[in-house]
C-alpha cells in the first residue's frame, strides 16, 4: 500500500538545533523516540505505556514532528509515526558552531590587542 506523504510537514523545513534539543529535553518525548526505534507505531499504541491522554501524547508528537525527529504518515485511517534520526546530527554541530565562533573571537581579540594603545610600555625585548 503506498503511503501518502502529506503529513510529513517537517520535511520541507529545516528544524533548528534548538527545536531538536527542546524536543529531546522531555522524558516522555525521549520515551516515545525510544519506542519508535523498534518500529513505526500509531498514536494509540504510543499512548499505551504512558499515563497520559491521547491529546497530551499528540502534543508531544507534534513537538517531535516539528523537530524533524518523527514523521507522521497517514496509513488508511491511522496516523503512523516513524523515527527520523537525522536531525540528531544537529547536536553534534555544536562543536562546529563553536569552532567558528571562537576562531572569529580569537581573531577579534588579536585585532583588539593590536589596536589597543599600550597602557604599559612594551618591554625592551619585545619582538615585532
Amino acid at each position: 500500500m503506498p503511503r501518502t506523504a502529506h503529513a510529513t510537514r517537517a520535511a520541507g523545513r529545516r528544524p533548528t538545533r534548538d527545536t531538536v534539543f527542546r524536543a529531546l529535553g522531555d522524558p516522555t518525548r525521549r520515551a516515545i523516540l525510544d519506542r519508535l526505534r523498534h518500529r513505526d507505531r500509531g498514536v494509540n499504541e504510543l499512548c499505551e505505556p504512558f499515563d497520559m491522554s491521547q491529546p497530551a501524547i499528540s502534543q508531544h508528537l507534534k513537538v517531535l514532528v516539528d523537530a524533524g525527529l518523527v514523521v507522521a504518515t497517514q496509513r488508511g485511517r491511522e496516523r503512523i509515526y516513524q523515527l527520523r534520526p537525522a536531525p540528531l546530527r544537529a547536536a553534534y554541530d555544536w562543536l562546529g558552531h563553536f569552532e567558528e565562533f571562537w576562531t572569529a573571537g580569537l581573531d577579534r581579540l588579536g585585532a583588539y590587542l593590536d589596536a589597543e594603545p599600550d597602557a604599559v610600555p612594551p618591554g625592551p625585548g619585545r619582538k615585532r
Partner: protein, 155 residues
C-alpha cells in the same frame, strides 16, 4: 565519546595584556560579547548576544578557575530561555603562556560530552541492547547523512 574544542594562537602582546583583554568588561564587550564578568572565583555572570529565534541570546557563566595571568575558566551554559531545559553545559578555559615577548593563548571549550549524554539517555537504555536500526547506528557512530528508505525526496 568526549568532544572538546581546542584552539591556539600566539599574540605579540605580553600575557598581562592578553589577560586584561580576557578579564576587562569593556575589552570583552569589544571582542567577545556584552558581559557583567568580574575576575573573581565563583562570580556568576552572563554574556549577552542578540536574541535569535529559539535562543534568548544569554550565556550563563560562573568563574571556576582564576590564576592571573595564566589561567581563566568559566562554565558556559546556554538554554532556550527562562525555565527551558539547558541545552548546553560546557566549560571554557583560557591558558596563557609566555612565548618570547608575546603570549601563546590556548582556548579550550570543554564538555560537549554533556550534550552527548542526551543521546545516551535516549538510546543507551536497557532496550537499546537489541541491535540498532542501521540508520540510527550510523547516525550515532558517524553522523553521516543517512536517508531512510522511505525518506521523501529532499529539494
Amino acid at each position: 565519546m568526549k568532544r572538546d574544542l581546542r584552539l591556539e594562537r600566539v599574540y605579540p602582546q605580553a600575557p598581562e595584556r592578553v589577560w586584561r583583554a580576557l578579564t576587562d568588561r569593556r575589552a570583552l564587550a569589544s571582542w567577545l560579547m556584552e558581559t557583567d564578568f568580574e575576575p573573581r572565583l565563583g562570580h556568576r555572570f552572563t554574556f549577552r548576544a542578540k536574541p535569535q529565534p529559539g535562543w534568548d541570546g544569554v550565556t550563563y557563566c560562573e568563574v571556576t578557575e582564576l590564576d592571573p595571568p595564566r589561567r581563566l575558566a568559566y562554565t558556559w551554559r546556554g538554554g532556550s530561555g527562562e525555565g527551558q531545559p539547558l541545552t548546553l553545559d560546557t566549560i571554557v578555559r583560557f591558558t596563557l603562556t609566555p612565548e618570547g615577548a608575546g603570549t601563546r593563548l590556548v582556548l579550550e571549550h570543554l564538555g560537549f560530552s554533556g550534550v552527548k549524554s542526551i543521546f545516551v539517555s535516549v538510546f543507551m537504555k536497557a532496550g537499546w541492547r537489541k541491535k540498532l536500526r542501521t540508520t540510527l547506528g550510523a547516525v550515532i557512530a558517524g553522523l553521516k547523512d543517512v536517508p531512510t528508505a522511505s525518506a521523501p525526496p529532499t529539494s
